[in-house]
Amino acid sequence: MASPPEIRIRSVGTELPGPPVDNDALVRRLRMPSQAKDWIEAFIGTRTRHFGFDLETGEVNDSLTDMGEAAGRRALKAAGAEPGQIDLLVMGTSTPDTLLPTTASQIADRLGIDSVPVYQLQSGCTGAMQAMAVASQLLRGGGYRNALVLGADTTAKYFDLDAPVKSLNSGAQVATVMFGDAAGATVLSADPDATGPVLRSVFSRLVGLNRAPGHTMNWYAATKPDPDEDIAGEDYKAIEQLVPQMSVEILDELLAEQSWKAEELDYVLPPQLSGVMTGKIARLLAQTVPGAQEVSCVLDTGNTANALPFLQLELLLPMLRPGQRAVAVSVESSKWIKAGFALELEG
């Protein structure tokens, strides 16, 4: 029996909407006290983020579909792939424009992708890995050659620019200054002639048994929101406690699975929660892989959830030399999901 084909990352494309919004501008617009800038710098650590809406008026300039289309188009162009060569589309998001049609199918339509399976996963920070895992398995099955994999999120529906920030729960206040909008995409290929790093492994695994959710995003339709129920919540104390250790476990698992020694890893892509948290986790991971260079984007992009690993991949790929290896680590605190991938540029 023939061994399953290798999966290669042919390209990456991303979209960060609008200009970067620094902490000064965000604090001013949200009418937060002047000390909030110092608070963000000390406890969140993020410098800038991008929004798909006008910070002054709240008007949405870039929907999730717009951002996903832009990222997908860039990934296709970088791969030199025509829409007709895409056999499969998988997208992860926690913030679709509409529940139906799915944003994934809207993006497919914009890109001219049709008559192929299109899947949308309801996912958070591990959504990129979830989508890559689903696409990889389908590609390995032999029925498809090229997959467009997307991850994107928008904060537009969760941002009430006129609500006093102090009236939000602590978790929501943290989230307000921590998250940003972005989309990312990659073309994965099982084509034996494809070039690019080999995706040696990708996984996501629920580890939420008997654990309370760490991150909650509510949604409403015709029914009115329950006044006692928060629209969003974040148990950042649980996140601070659990994510660093889980990150180490994911790194260890991927190294062991690939039989890679710690000194053989060239790059590590840590979880991108916030500048402060990512810094802590990166220092912890460096205890295992001291020679691996950190590849992070969160200081400049904020936490863009489903888009994050694509933003990190876009930074990584131009640096990756033949023979080099990288591991990406992600933890989703919603109901607690561990995820990661390992890649290698053969040489």
């Binding site: 006290p33 000390q35 110092d38 608070w39 000390a42 102090k166 943290v174 950042y236």
Partner: protein, 76 residues
């Protein structure tokens, strides 16, 4: 704000957090529901109460509410 009792009252009023005099001298991690968000809003409330700026950078050195109180009083 001239006393620790005033300070405890301010915390209750502004943050909805009831702390005892003993908890004022406990480290932050020993106070249920304490977090950095509350430090931000306490800084804002303190500025109003004492009528002078409170440097957030100074508050970052505080390990307890008592430290925060002494910083605020020293500022007056």
């Amino acid at each position: 704000m001239t006393s620790i009792e005033d300070f405890i009252g301010l915390i209750d009023e502004e943050l909805g957090l009831q702390v005892t005099a003993e908890q004022v001298e406990a480290t932050f991690d020993q106070i249920p529901d304490w977090d950095s968000v509350k430090l931000l809003w306490l800084a804002t409330a303190l500025e109003k109460a004492i009528g002078r700026p409170v440097r957030f950078a100074d508050l970052l050195e505080a390990t307890s509410l008592g430290d925060v109180y002494r910083l605020a009083v020293a500022t007056v």
